[in-house]
Amino acid sequence: MEAFDLSVIWAGIIGLGVIMYVLMDGFDLGLGILFPFAPDEGTRDVMMNSVAPVWDGNETWLILGGAGLLAAFPLVYTIFLPALYLGVFLLLAGLIFRGVAFEFRFKANTSKYLWNWAFAGGSMLASFAQGAVVGAYIQGFETENLRYVGGALDWLTPFTVLTGLGLMAGYALLASTWLILKSEGRIQDWAYRITIPLLVTVLVVFAIVSVWTPMIDPMVRERWFSNLSVIWLLPALGLLCAFQIVRSVRNRFEGMPFVATMGLFVFTYLGLIVSRWPYVVPPDYTLWDASSAWQSQLFLLIGVLFVIPIVLGYTAWTYWVFRGKVREGEGYH
């Protein structure tokens, strides 16, 4: 029974890590996606300054999630990574490039354009790869005897390309609504202008994915069209969030578009979990199949329960200190 409890606790911790990561690194990756489309260099400075104090902490969650997976659900780690081999490389290469570009752009004068490209390219690559990972998870993995036995490019299908592009649009939407909150004047006007087209793109992709998934997977169809009708609340709430984004952008509210976008992400995420629960390596292995020994889960849990409040507190403090608008010409050079 001990094993049962710990696996669920660990699923909660890693689930929290994933959504924290998606929401927080999402908007700063999104800024990288919007970077080439920004009207001018002044806007780019404001975009970068708006996340400079926080993006570092955002990526913390990815690493915590990754390390936690090996310790708590090793099977997820040892099937996802081989199956997504080339995607993982693109993801890491993208994250490294954008991270380094972020630091050096602030210190650069004549070489600034170079770091602009590295930041935008790295952000796009990493976002696409993350979206494709989500798609690959929905798609499921070919396994045999606890090993991945599929091919190197099984993860790259029209479906995962769609989820990859969809997440890029979603991150861009998070970024544009974040920018509404953090900027003013002509930069804010630009952010308002691009938000609705981005939302429409995201909703179109979500709609296609929602129709496509039950078609490719009978288990998902069963889940959604059985008696468990309460789960239909999730897409309903998601749509309500989308409606809120439109309404608040029309009324030029500043905070609501970002909050509603986060809501849209959370309900989509919960919908995804509900579709697959309790399978963590679809279609074959559940949470409990993927668990490590309960002593190992317990051993790490002690350290993690100690460090999570510190990371959360540090994160909250940082966002509090850097609340308010970012103005042009402020902050850096």
């Binding site: 570092d56 081989p82 972020f102 650069a108 190197a152 190992s296 940082t318």
Partner: protein, 480 residues
């Protein structure tokens, strides 16, 4: 030619880990040096210590940043290339490696920010405490990593059931037989690396007549450390070798180039090991010395490579020569310490240009020693990934094909080359700006974040003249 995923994966891991290792091995030593400087600043209120500490903290920030970035890839490689190994050992390696991450996070969130940006914001005692905790944190991180690595060499406290290791004793697994030796050997290596880099950079500044008082103090401190630590490292290394002889005799045989189990084994100064012929060409050695070192008797019997089947032998040539490079560097380090002592009377130490110039060159010696040492220990355990229990080929990801491994090998090499050319170039910019730039800087709350250690040095990426530069402007110009 067939692309062998096993060989390419080994090459990839070796490349990434070698690239990564040079950063932490330096920051661990440097963190302790900074803690000592902070302690001296706290006790004596001499501003020289503050100047030194502020400067080396900036260097620490840049190198720490590069270490973190290069380490991220490694935490995924266990899964991408070695998934069978990761799955089988996950009950132990999962929590242990995660604890390293947890330690690093705790360190960053709580203390690194105070050390990097808090000098004038918090009481001096708190700043000193943060410096000590950062130094301690780097040690705790290496504790976990070396425990995991040592366990792979000398697995203990676990039993293999149905393809999974199950932990029977956490303390036996964490403190496995080779761990104390490896930890001591690496700890000293870190201190020596920190000492030689600081000594080399200080020597360079002294040659340019920059911040003479502070740099003399730094140089003197480092040379005292080197004088005592370099010989100590030789002794600890010897104990580590004896421990290896007990648990991994084939590795020691490869280090010595000793093909046959025999008594009166010579210590080879030169040889060309030939794996196919199972013997050496051009041997030059001191009779009986290897027997004496390894068994403490002139005619002691030392196991040779013939003690294991040929397909369980490590590649002898590279282990043999890596070991000699490591030892050679160690000898140079001991000599550097002694020469430094000889030059102390009358302060000739600070003015002897050939010595200062050789110290500049010696900055790379500890890095060479550490890398060749790791080549010895890691290549020397071939063909095992968990020694004596799981081979590298059993640990490989089954779905991995040669071209996948090749694509990512080239990819990571390209990414690292690009990123670290930038990083190293920037590090040299910080070194050029020097101690003078560290004095007048203040904390900038919009800019400086502890999780972004590279935000600490306010030095421009592009080249600017530095004091003493050939043909450059000799007056210092603020770099920000």
């Amino acid at each position: 030619m067939d692309l062998d995923p096993l060989f390419l994966s080994r090459l990839q891991f070796a490349f990434v880990v070698s690239f990564h290792a040079i950063f932490p091995v330096f920051t661990i030593g440097l963190a302790s040096f900074i803690a000592v400087l902070e302690g001296l600043a706290y006790k004596t209120e001499n501003s020289v210590w503050v100047t030194l500490s502020a400067f080396w903290t900036k260097v620490f920030a840049v190198v720490f940043g590069m270490g973190v970035v290069s380490g991220i890839v490694m935490s995924f490689q266990f899964g991408t290339n070695w998934s069978n190994f990761a799955l089988a050992t996950s009950n132990f390696l999962g929590p242990v490696l995660s604890y390293e991450v947890v330690t690093a996070f705790f360190l960053e969130a709580a203390f690194l920010g105070v050390l990097l940006f808090g000098r004038d914001k918090v009481p001096a005692g708190v700043h000193l405490f943060a410096a000590v905790m950062v130094a301690l944190g780097t040690f705790i991180s290496s504790f976990w990593i070396l425990s995991a690595n040592s366990w792979m060499h000398t697995p203990a406290g676990a039993e293999l059931r149905d393809g999974f290791y199950h932990i029977t004793s956490w303390s036996e697994a964490i403190f496995n037989p080779s761990f104390p030796y490896r930890f001591a050997h690496m700890g000293l290596a870190s201190f020596l690396t920190g000492s030689f880099v600081v000594a080399g950079v200080s020597a360079w500044y002294l040659l340019l007549n920059r911040e003479v008082e502070a740099n003399r103090k730094a140089l003197s401190m480092c040379l005292w450390l080197i004088l005592f630590l370099a010989p100590t490292q030789a002794v600890v290394g010897d104990f580590h070798g004896l421990n290896t002889l007990e648990h991994q005799p084939a590795k020691v045989a490869a280090m010595e180039g000793n093909w046959e189990t025999q008594s009166n084994v010579p210590l080879l100064l030169f040889a060309w090991p030939d794996q196919d012929a199972q013997s050496n060409h051009f041997e030059v050695g001191i009779p009986g010395l290897a027997s004496l070192i390894l068994t403490h008797e002139w005619d002691g019997v030392v196991p040779g490579l013939d003690a294991v089947p040929e397909n369980e032998q490590p590649p002898v040539g590279i282990v043999f020569w890596s070991f000699r490079i490591m030892v050679g560097m160690g000898v140079l380090m001991i000599i550097a310490g002694l020469v430094g002592l000889a030059l102390r009377p009358g302060g000739r130490l600070y003015e002897t240009r050939w010595f200062l110039n050789s110290l500049r060159v010696m900055s790379v010696a500890p890095f060479l020693a550490v890398l060749s040492g790791w080549f010895v220990t890691e290549i020397g355990r071939f063909p095992w990934v968990v020694y004596g229990e799981m081979t590298l080929s059993e640990g490989l990801t089954p779905s991995l094909s040669g071209w996948m491994a090749l694509v990512t090998l080239i990819g990571y090499a390209a990414v690292y080359a690009a990123v670290f050319t930038g990083g190293t170039y920037y590090l040299f910019r910080v070194l050029q700006a020097g101690l003078e730039a560290s004095v007048e800087e203040s904390f900038d709350i919009d800019h400086d974040r502890p999780k972004r250690p590279m935000s600490a040095p306010h030095v421009s990426f592009e080249h600017e003249p530095y004091p003493g530069e050939q043909g450059g402007n000799t007056s210092y110009q603020g770099g920000h």
